[in-house]
Every structure is written in C-alpha cells, then in structure tokens.
C-alpha cells in the first residue's frame, strides 16, 4: 500500500483525500441528524424493503427489540464511520464497515426494474444507484488509502 501511495501525484492525493472527506461528511452528518431527532427510527425504511432479501430486512422491523438495536447501530455506525473517514483514524476498519452498511442499504432497496418504493427517488436507477456508487468509491479509497499521509493514522500507525 505504501508503495502505491508513494506513487500518487499531488492531484491524485488531493482528490482522494477530498473524496474521503466528502464521504465521511455524508456519513457523519446523516448520523448526527438521526441522533438529534429522538423520534427517528428505521422501521418505515426496513418495512419498505423489496427484492430477494426483503424478508430478512423486514424481520428487523417486526420486533421492537431488534429495531432498537438496528437503530442504535445505524446511528452510531454512521457517526463512527464518518468520524473515521474525516479524521483519517482507523480508516481501514471504517471503510470496511461503510461498505458493509452500504451493501445493507443497497440490498434492502435494490434498484431493479420490477420494484417500486414508497420513498420517491430524485432520479432513475437500474442496478446502479448512488448507494452502489458510494460503496464503490469507498472500495477505491480502500485500495488507495490516504490516512497515513493526511489523518490520524499517520500518528497511530507511526512506527
């Protein structure tokens, strides 16, 4: 990895860091807004799940205890991942967690032709949607890490 980084041009590094910060901001802000709204719950979102894994996602919503756990993990997951990406701290774990979380969002609402969702979308999607693109962007960040250059990881993993 360090080898790759060493070969990054300044513009490449800058854009990768900007991408990392943007995605981090997106996660962090979303988590904060949910945290600050005490009535927020993922029940509706999960109940609206469609596609081949809808049963799995709806089962979370069906039970008041599991939904509390899901809501808690979602809010604090978003905040922790967001902080990790922005600060560049433990970014490898943060990115893997982010990919996992985004794949849950994607699989619960896959943009397939026959599926209609209650939440209106602002665009038109088939197979590829913004969730998947964000997921892939994080995958790119995973193979082009920048946090050891600009971020806490520079200090954390300093030998």
């Amino acid at each position: 990895m360090t080898k790759v980084n060493r070969n990054l041009s300044s513009i490449q590094l800058t854009l990768l860091v900007l991408l990392r910060l943007s995605i981090g901001w997106h996660f962090f802000y979303e988590g904060l807004i949910k945290l600050l709204n005490p009535g927020w719950t993922s029940v509706g979102y999960l109940m609206d799940s469609k596609g081949f894994m809808s049963g799995f996602f709806q089962s979370f919503a069906a039970n008041p205890t599991t939904i509390q756990v899901v809501d808690f993990l979602n809010i604090w997951g978003l905040i922790a991942i967001g902080l990790g990406l922005i600060l560049g701290a433990y970014t490898k774990i943060a990115k893997i967690a982010a990919i996992l979380l985004l794949s849950f969002y994607y699989l619960s609402h896959p943009p397939f032709l026959s599926l209609e969702y209650l939440i209106p979308t602002e665009g038109n999607y088939f197979i590829i949607n913004k969730t998947l693109i964000e997921l892939l962007a994080i995958a790119v960040l995973l193979v082009f890490p920048t946090s050891k250059i600009l971020g806490f990881d520079r200090l954390i993993f300093k030998k």
Partner: protein, 532 residues
C-alpha cells in the same frame, strides 16, 4: 491548494525518510489537519437542529396543540360483575364482533395460528391472544341459519381462546327466535349484527326487555322506526351503543382537538368518500354450500321486509336490495358521517341531494354502486360531500377544508397550512410555516408526535406502514368500541356513539336515501323534527 498539492509529494518523501525518527511537528499537523471538517459538519447539524426546534416551539406556541396520544381504551373494565351477553346474527360482522369481545371459533383460531407459524409478520393470532379480557360470558346465540348458529355456539364456548384441540367451555344456548333470547333471564346485554331491516325492530324489542344494546350500523332501516328506537332506548334507560367503531380511532380524537383549537380557520367544505373494488366490497358475499330452505328460517329472515320466495342470493347478499338494506348510505356513508359528526359535532344536515346509479354491478341489485350525496349545513356555513364507488380503489380519504388550513384524515392526521391563510400569514412570511409542509401531524402509536415530521415518515405513515401498533399491541377499534359499551354499562354512563348520535346518523342517512329515490332536495325540519 495547488501549492499544497505540489508540496504533498515532497512531504510524502520526507515522511518516509523521517519515519524512523519519531513523530515530527509535520506529522502532528498532517495528522490533525482534517479536524476542522468535523467541526463543519457538527456545526451544520446543530444549526439545523436548532432551527427545527425554533420552528417547533414557535408552532407549538401558535397552535397550542398537545402532542400526546389520546387516552382511549385504557380504562380497566374487567373489575365488577361479569356481563352476560347474547348475540343475534353471526354472519361476517357477527364473527368479528364476537372475536372483538374475546370469543373466536376454534377452527378460525387454528387457521390464524397456522398462518402465524408460516409467516412471522402475521400478528392476528398474537393480537387476538393479547386482546384484553372484557369479563363477559356469552349465554345465548341466535342465528336463523343453522350452520352459523352452530358456529356461534362453538365460538362462544371457546372461553380460553384455544384452537381445535383446546379445552372448551360449555356451549351457550341457541335461540331459534331472537325474541326468546331477549326474554332470557340470564342475559344482560345483546350484540345485534343482523341485516339492516331488522336493526330497529330488534333494538326496540331489546330495550323493552331491559337489555343493553350494541347495535350494528345503520341504526334503522326506515325513518319511522328511527323515532321509535330513540323513544324505546330513552324510556328504558338501557345503555345503547351504535357500532361506529371509528369513534375509537386515535386520529379522529386528535382531529377533534385540532378543530376545537381552530387550526383550520373557517371551514367551508368537507369531502368524504368510499372506494372499494372487489366483489366482497360490493357485497357479493359467498353463498354457503349448506344453505337451503331446511337450514334457513326464511320466514324470520323476511320479517318486516316485503314477502319474497326463498332466495340464497338475497339471504347472503342482502345488502344489494333495498328490501333488506340501506345501500351505501347505511353501510358506508354512515361511517363517514359519524366520523365528521364526532369531530365537528355537525348534527343533522339542513338538506340533502343525491344521485348515482348501478353502473358496474349489473347483477340484479337494486341499490346503487356509485353514489354522490351533498349535505348543506347552513348553520355552520359549510357543505359535506360524500362520493362513493364500489369499482375503484383510489384512496381519497377525508378532507376538511378551512380558510387557514386543510386537514387530511385517515389512520394518521395531517394539517396543511393554506398559502393564503390570514391567521398564518405572518409565520408564512417569516418562514416558520412553510406551505406544503404540515403544521401538525399525528401518527397513532408514534412516540414522536411533532409538528415537524420528516417527509419520509409522512410518506410511510400515510400508507399505513408505520406505527400500526400501540404499546406493542395492534388496536382493533371494534374491540375498543365494545369495551367502551361494557364500561358504560358497568358505570351507568353514556358511551360515545349513544342514542342521540345514532338518531342523527340514521336521519342523515335516510335523508340521502329519500333524496336519491325522489330525485330532489330533501330538508330536515328541526322544529317539527321531520324530513320534508
């Protein structure tokens, strides 16, 4: 930025060169360089939160609405004497009413139990088991179809809410004639769920026998018996509840609060509707294979109706004929009207016009399947429109339109500000109120009743996906309505849909029917208390 970038490469090299030399000042600066970004996002989120709270508090100040769930169905009535019930009529609605009272046929329990085992989202079995014990016993059942009567006995004997192999209690007595049931000493109160043409007669007879009455809507089949039922109930002092279970709907109770606090301003128009699109919804009910002149007491079925030879369609699909039915007006307009009467206390309208026809179900029925009614309420200066079709499922809901805001009402409730409102003008101008965004919304069971509900939450709630549970229990309004009736019997007080509300409901429905038949505007003379 460009300069920084140019430096980056050099910095990387330097970093690698100095990696063994401990943490340098440069390392620290580069390590913490992105902290301000956290501050930026945090600032944004807190500002947004602050703004939402400001809007909420300004709105709360303006509207003076409470955000708590209304207190209904919370009273514990199980204390006190066991009430001994009889049920007359055990068709589709009779089954539901007995279930809502706590008694269900073991085979039906078995079906629900199996369905729940296959599908964990099927909560019907769970909800039935969880339903409050109303401390009643069923001592008599009456149905003129032997199969239904037998079913009623078996349901009433299912005292432990068991499926087929469970332990049953004693079966109650079956009465072949409702009059014998009403004369029984071991019955305190009756639930009546027969065809419309029997409602009034049976309610009058029950009152005369001193039995408390839960009567399915509509209250009466003819105008004349409407007065007689009111007199019989008032003279006897029995506790009478008409079966408009919508009285227990949380959102209606909140809607009344919103109206009382004048959130809507001057109301000018109310729109209510019925939309259904299935044979069952159009009263084409299944015909039981064991039904025959041997198993059905046809003579008793006809009762006050015009004589007609034995006919299975008429027996099972009686709602399709004026001979036994009150059509859309009695079956469905009454629910809509009663909801509006509950929320606004409109009373009997001054006039009614009506039109419609049999446009889809040309199956020999005499009642219309498409119907419009316009009621005028000059005392309140508004019109109420009812519009119905039995062959389109478009959901139209109830809409109450005022000068300052309009209210949309279903299981949830939302109040939308009118862009040209006088009352909210200042708040619209300074951005506290945003046209297109509700100023008050109420979602039953939600822990978070807020003026500012997120768009997605609104979306889900409006489609019934959110909060169908209350305190972990699904609410069956029919159960709550029966519970309120039993409560009222024990406490000797009037329930929410009492004889006065029933009288208004019946007269209002009859006015529409008369207007439809006579193709003219009919009036309520509130001096002489007659329809003209």
């Amino acid at each position: 930025m460009a300069t920084d970038n140019n430096n980056n490469k050099n910095n990387q090299d330097k970093t690698n060169n100095t990696s063994k030399k401990g943490v340098t000042r440069r390392d620290v600066l580069k390590g913490i360089a992105t902290i301000p970004v956290v501050g930026g996002a945090l600032y944004g989120a807190l500002k947004r939160h602050q703004y939402d709270n400001l809007v909420k508090s300004k709105l709360a100040e303006e509207l003076q609405m409470s955000y708590e769930a209304p207190d209904i169905g919370e009273r514990n009535t199980s204390d006190g004497p066991t009430i001994r019930l009889g049920i007359i009529g055990f068709g589709i609605r009779g089954n539901h009413l007995l279930r809502a009272t706590g008694y269900m046929h073991p085979e039906d329990v078995e079906d629900w139990k199996k369905a729940a085992a296959v599908d964990s989202y099927d909560k019907r079995y769970h909800d039935f088991l969880m339903q409050d014990d109303l401390n009643v016993v069923i001592n008599g059942v009456c149905d003129i179809f032997d199969v239904y009567a037998d079913r009623a006995q078996r349901a009433a004997a299912n005292i432990n809410r068991e499926s087929v192999e469970g332990k049953m209690g004693p079966a109650p007595r079956r009465y072949k004639n409702y009059k014998d049931l009403l004369a029984a000493d071991d019955i305190d109160a009756v639930i009546i769920a027969t065809p419309d043409h029997w409602h009034g007669t049976m309610a009058i007879d029950a009152a005369r026998h001193g039995k408390h009455v839960y009567l399915e809507k509509p209250m009466t089949w003819t105008v004349e018996e409407t007065y007689e039922v009111r007199k019989a109930v008032k003279d006897s002092g029995i506790i009478f509840q008409l079966g408009h279970q919508g009285r227990q709907t949380e959102s209606y109770i909140k809607a009344k609060e919103a109206i009382d606090k004048n959130l809507l301003g001057k109301i000018s128009l109310i729109e209510v509707a019925t939309n259904r699109n299935s044979p069952n919804g159009a009263w084409v009910y299944p015909i039981h294979p064991e039904a025959s002149p041997q198993t059905i007491d046809w003579k008793q079925f006809i009762g006050p109706a015009p004589s007609h030879p034995f006919n299975l369609e008429r027996f099972f699909r009686w709602r399709c004929w004026w001979d036994y039915s009150t059509g859309l007006n009695g079956d469905l307009l009454t629910h809509e009207y009663d909801a509006i009467n509950q929320i606004l206390g409109v009373g009997i309208p001054h006039s009614a016009v009506s039109s419609g026809g049999i446009y889809y179900y040309k199956d020999g029925r005499t009642v219309p399947d498409v119907l419009q009614v316009a009621y005028e309420f000059p005392k309140h200066d508004f019109t109420m429109l009812y519009s119905a079709t039995l062959s389109s499922q478009k959901d139209r809901g109830k809409v109450i339109m005022g000068h300052d805001a309009w209210m949309e009402l279903g299981n949830s409730l939302s109040v939308m500000p009118d862009p040209s409102s006088t009352r909210y003008q200042e708040k619209i101008e300074n951005g506290i109120i945003e046209p297109g965004r509700p100023i008050y919304s109420y979602i039953p069971g939600s822990t978070n009743v807020d003026a500012v509900t997120s768009a997605t939450e609104q979306y889900f709630a409006g489609r019934g996906l959110l909060y169908t549970y209350r305190g972990g229990k699904r609410v069956d309004t029919t159960h709550l309505h029966i519970k309120e009736w039993l409560d009222s019997i024990r406490l000797n007080q009037q329930p929410s849909c009492d004889i006065n509300a029933g009288f208004e409901e019946a007269i209002t429905a009859h006015m529409a029917t008369k207007a439809y038949h006579e193709k003219r505007q009919v009036f309520w003379n509130d001096v002489d208390n007659v329809i003209e």
